[in-house]
Symmetry: C2
Subunit: 306 residues, 2 copies
């Protein structure tokens, strides 16, 4: 195997150019970052592990690097924030070698460039275990402030971007984090609460409800089901996929009815927007099935257990 950690760091350093937001980047004990302009700062961290969040193959190292940053950008999007900086810690499987590590970083850098995120630093390690990538992303809230999970109010409409379910068929690697969409939506309409759908609509909606101390009613027929969810043919219905599958990385948000009507009448983004239900007083979530029957929608979806 050619190369070493030192070589990789030098390669990274040459590759990651200068950025005014990072006066001192890769190559010192810590990165020096310019002070923020007074906006509230945002920080998100996500760790991806081989065999849990991806498998190699079908994922390539480039896919994994891209996804490791993308899931974090999705978190910043969920706050309606602007991502600015990232740092990356990697545990590389020894047997995979130097070019694998370069490919991983290439995937990450490509997405960073696309979203104008500066790479401020990292930690690169080699071991005999599986690939682990942990990315920490910084961002800034806009003048409207961050959108929290806890701001939903009774009467709010619940909207989602895109189409849901079946992400494992490919979207979980190729999704585009909804950073630009979140900014435009918040600017256009003033969102009350938002979350990115990482663990499935049912689970993530419950997180918003719990934080906001409210309930919700959803209409099954209004939930946008992806083609991949329809194609799954694994005994679960497309609706079940849309409700329970993780890693959609679409946005779920709530806002006042009049703002929602305005938004839907003149959407500021190209992605489809679906009005899937309303926030209610009380707690928990009801689902109105296509036959009109109401049933409780339990917290479900993707949750790692010990």
């Amino acid at each position: 195997m050619s190369g070493s950690e030192f070589q990789l760091i030098e390669w990274l350093r040459a590759r990651v150019g200068r950025d005014p937001r990072v006066p001192v980047g890769i190559g010192d004990d810590a990165a020096v970052i310019a002070p923020s302009a007074g906006a509230a700062g945002l920080v998100a961290v996500d760790m991806l592990m081989e065999g849990v969040h991806f498998t190699l193959p079908p994922a390539t190292p480039r896919d994994v690097g891209r996804k490791a940053l993308a899931v974090n950008l999705s978190d910043i999007a969920a706050m309606a924030g602007v991502p600015t900086l990232a740092v990356v810690a990697v545990a590389l499987p020894r047997a995979r070698g130097y070019e694998f590590a370069q490919e991983l970083h290439r995937g990450l850098h490509e997405l960073a460039r696309e979203f104008d995120v500066a790479l401020a630093g990292g930690d690169t390690n080699v071991w005999d275990g599986g690939l682990v990538v942990a990315v920490t992303v910084f961002g800034e809230a806009t003048a409207r402030g961050p959108v929290l999970r806890g701001g939903a109010r009774p009467g709010d409409w619940i909207l989602v971007t895109g189409a849901l379910g079946g992400s494992l068929a490919g979207k979980h690697l190729s999704f585009v984090p909804r950073v630009r969409e979140a900014l435009r939506l918040h600017e256009a309409a003033g969102l009350n609460a938002m979350i990115d759908l990482s663990d499935g609509l049912a689970t993530d909606l419950h997180r918003v409800l719990d934080e906001s101390k409210v309930g919700a009613v959803l209409r099954a027929e209004a939930i946008p089901v992806s083609d991949a969810a329809r194609a799954a043919a694994d005994g679960r219905t497309p609706l079940e996929h849309a409700l329970e599958d993780g890693e959609d990385f679409e946005l779920l948000f709530t806002l006042a009815e009049e703002d929602a009507r305005r938004l839907l009448a003149s959407p500021p983004i190209e992605l489809p927007l679906a009005h899937i239900g309303e926030i209610t007083t009380g707690s928990g979530c009801e689902l109105i099935d296509t036959d009109g029957k109401r049933r409780a929608l339990p917290r479900a979806g993707w949750e790692h257990a010990f």
Copy 2:
């Protein structure tokens, strides 16, 4: 096994408490942090992996949690910065269970409290691989500015704190990051360059020399050798341990001769300070052995290879 990720997050959330530096902490997509007061920001990230940076046992999960933060605080110390916030990403081995995870976080929280570091957020995952902990720490430089690796000048004296070598015997888990010492030293004397000794004196000194584009001469007899290095009895000399062992987490710094003399005459810290050599023009490092012979000191010590 009892518990789940959700339970753990709720436990963490109840445990971490409010901090004015983190208006929104654990429990949202990203943490909201207060804007900095205008100081240059610092960011460090380090990942610890089972079998590489610790073994369980002899290390306890509490030790590992503590160390995962401590290595990052040591990086902030090496910039003469004040650590303020941390985020933590963990890959937990499924078989270890819930209490193991709690113990890990307890170790981390104890050290965070000791250094007044707010825990802003994290990501907790379970998998079938070994334990991995990645911590990202934020800090702020003081009014004197951060101390970089690249500031050493010919004529500077080279000093180190504490005693070196043999860290694997225990210090690699129990070391106290030299945050307070770095601040006092920089305030008292204006340091030109600094690094924390994580990969061994020889390797880390070369990093300072490379970044500063200078050389150095060290005197073997002046290098402070730890009791653990003397006790090692593994065929390597105590000096070799002091030069090559990783994870001392002491500070190596350079400063002008007159400042160094003043510092040594009236040290602002209780830890021993040793004057081990000088910065020269040129490149690379020479070691003057105890018998007066000069030899090149190669870059050595702890480096992970593919």
